[in-house]
């Protein structure tokens, strides 16, 4: 199987911030809904963040940033710091993967990630009585005390690989592998594709002048692109360097 580089382009002009991606992701990946969790201790592998242009009244504008693992390619911060290889960049897919069963829960990777895209299991996962029947087969439930994050729904990749193998093929059918958030987005704002393939529409889109990556200057080469026509939204890519940024924080 020729190495792929799976990535995304998220069209922010299409994101209405409905949150379907978050719910679909949690459901696909057996993320528990813990009532005791808060905005700071929750588990939302893809988290839609609201940002505003800081203006008041009629000039006020808002946009929504779905934040998830950016699958950094260069000097991947979390991979570099994990003491026991619980994180690695998968050679075949370019997915930065997290292996909760290997993780010892030191949370060093969380401090290393500039996007806060990593989440810690502060509680034992639990569901109301009977609800464990609604767990998605193919995705193992993580235990308390480990870090997890977006693995690009690789359980779906497994199914695709198995299907291909059964049909005697080496390459998977791209249509069989679509992450839950991409599938869920009602406005089709999340575009998923193989950046290693120059003809992939996502590759082309990622090169458009309207596309950008968050904190690109850190040099971690994220494979998750954002796209917007709005200049003020694109300005959210890098920290504001004019000494009045306090108001900016949506």
């Amino acid at each position: 199987m020729s190495a792929a580089r799976y990535g995304m382009v998220i069209d922010l002009d299409r994101c209405t911030g409905c949150g379907s991606c978050m719910v679909a992701c949690a459901s696909e990946n057996n993320v528990p809904a813990l009532p005791q969790a808060t905005a700071r201790t929750g588990l939302t592998p893809i988290l839609v963040r609201e940002v505003s242009n800081g203006k008041q009244g009629a000039d006020h504008r808002e946009a929504f940033f779905p934040i998830m693992c950016m699958h950094c390619e260069h000097d991947t911060p979390c991979v570099k710091v994990c003491p026991q290889q619980a994180v690695e960049v998968d050679k075949a897919t370019g997915i930065v993967m997290q292996m909760p069963q290997r993780c010892l829960g030191c949370r060093y990777c969380m401090t290393a990630c500039p996007y806060h895209a990593r989440y810690y299991n502060w509680w034992d996962p639990s569901w109301p009585k009977g609800m464990e029947k609604s767990l998605n087969p193919g995705v193992a439930v993580r235990m308390r005390g480990v870090v997890e994050k977006c693995n690009l729904c690789h359980a779906r990749l497994h199914s695709a690989m198995e299907k291909a193998a059964a049909a005697g093929k080496r390459e998977i059918d791209q249509a069989d592998y679509v992450p839950a958030c991409v599938e869920a987005c009602p406005t089709g704002a999340i575009h998923f594709g193989n950046l290693a393939d120059a003809n992939d529409p996502v590759t082309k889109e990622s090169r458009s002048p309207e596309s950008f990556r968050l904190l690109a200057k850190l040099g971690t080469e994220p494979k998750l692109y954002y796209k917007s026509k709005e200049a003020w939204v694109r300005a959210m890519a890098e920290p504001n360097t004019a000494p009045t940024s306090e108001a900016q924080h949506g």
Binding site: Q84, T111, H116, V146, M236, P239
Partner: protein, 419 residues
């Protein structure tokens, strides 16, 4: 009278005077209580998980990491004194050698204990040895700290066996005697290990490319904080030793080490601190003007959030760096105990402040443009386990002081006559 019944004189080194057992126990009891509370809190964290703490997804490190970095820096006195005595042959420092070892042992074992609570899955901590990621600073730290803790234990045992009763067991005596010959080797090994993990503890944050406040460029694979940590650790170690010794002298009302030892320690500490401050200043300038801007972060941002304003930077480098450094270097200081200790204390505070800024401020600061500045207040469980470690230290030290010849060249001489 109670003391006649309650006595442990046969365990106390011959010729040494120690307070009565009841008074000693009275002194221990509050610490024992604190330790018990700490153990309880730690138990809660292990049983229910880290939801017992106030850490969260963005503040993934908290009080405990600060504690680890702090005590390990202060514990550096152990290896450094060993290094001075055995490698650089500074015999005049021998009197504080035992204290140094005990203090080091306490700091490191305490740190390791806290780490075991801090990781969510202690039962899997050994994976680091089985599947090590050689690129991770934390792997280096884990290896070195656990090895060095072993070394410290080996250095501690001979002191332990020099107890009046234990000496009586011949095999122990032989063992201790043999082991004692090893001590220089251990000192050398310890030095090497310590240099590395003190450094990699600094590297821990220095390598965080994703946290421009902490990220530093450096030499080969090591970010500048790697070297700054080594420097600051060996600078503060002796100061901390002075503080401990002085405190013990105050509590017991005895002179335990000759004055010149203090003078010597003060000078070493001051000298190293001065070098550290210089290096730190250069590093800060490079970071503010080159490293950080190239990552797209304007330095003023870091200090635009109260309470982490520029004063903290000033305090770290000048008030608790330059000032104590010059005080310690100033010969006259050594003669005034009060002044000397103040300077030593300031030096230690400076190092702690540095560790605090690196651990806490780094996480509090926003990275994404739409992040907020975060605050974090440790839960009682975190504070209690913190206190537990301190209590543990006091208790172990008190016991060691009471039953082992920590100071007193007596231990040495009797040992010589022993064979």
């Amino acid at each position: 009278m109670a003391s006649s019944v309650l006595t442990d004189s046969r365990w106390i080194a011959r010729g040494e005077e120690r307070t009565s057992l009841p008074r000693f126990l009275l002194w221990l009891s509050p610490w024992a209580l604190l330790l018990a509370l700490g153990v309880y809190a730690a138990g809660l964290c292990l049983y229910y998980g880290l939801n017992q703490t106030n850490m969260d997804n963005r503040f993934a490190f908290g009080l405990w990491i600060f504690l680890d970095l702090g005590v390990i820096a202060l514990g550096a006195g152990a290896f450094f004194t060993g290094f001075l005595v055995y490698i650089l042959k500074r015999a005049e420092l021998k009197p504080i050698l035992n204290t140094a070892v005990v203090v080091g042992f306490i700091c490191y074992s305490g740190a390791v204990a806290i780490l075991m609570i801090d990781v969510g899955q202690p039962l899997r901590a050994w994976f680091t040895f089985w599947h090590p990621n050689t690129h991770s600073m934390l792997t280096e730290v884990t290896f070195c700290i656990s090895c060095y803790l072993l070394v410290l234990s080996l250095e501690y045992i001979p002191i332990l066996f020099r107890n009046r009763q234990l000496r009586k067991i011949p095999s122990f005596f032989i063992f201790e005697h043999q082991l004692h010959k090893l001590v220089p080797v251990l000192a050398a090994v310890g030095t090497l290990l310590s240099f590395f993990h003190q450094g990699s503890l600094g590297g821990l944050y220095g390598v965080l490319r994703g946290r421009p406040f902490a990220f530093r460029t450096g030499f080969l694979i090591w970010p500048s904080t790697f070297f700054l940590f080594i420097l600051s650790a060996i600078a503060s170690g002796p100061s901390f030793l002075m503080l401990v010794t002085a405190t013990v002298e105050k509590v017991t009302g005895r002179r335990l080490v000759p004055q010149e030892v203090f003078g010597r320690l003060a000078f070493i500490s001051g000298l190293l601190l001065a070098i550290y401050v210089a290096a730190k200043s250069v590093d800060t300038l490079v970071w503010l003007n080159v490293t950080s801007p190239s990552a797209g972060f304007a330095p003023w941002q870091y200090y635009s959030h109260k309470p982490f304003g520029t004063p903290i930077l000033f305090a770290e480098i000048v008030v608790f760096g330059l000032l104590p450094a010059s005080l310690l270097l100033f010969r006259k200081t050594a003669e005034h105990r009060g002044l000397l200790l103040t300077a030593a204390a300031m030096a230690c505070c400076g190092i702690l402040l540095n560790r605090f800024v690196l651990t806490v401020q780094t996480l509090a600061l926003p990275t994404l443009p739409f992040d907020e500045f975060l605050s974090y207040v440790p839960s009682w469980q975190e504070v209690a386990s913190f206190g537990g470690v301190i209590a543990y230290g006091v208790i172990v030290y008190s016991l060691s002081y009471r039953y082992l010849p920590l100071f007193g060249s007596k231990g040495e001489t009797t040992h010589v006559s022993g064979n």
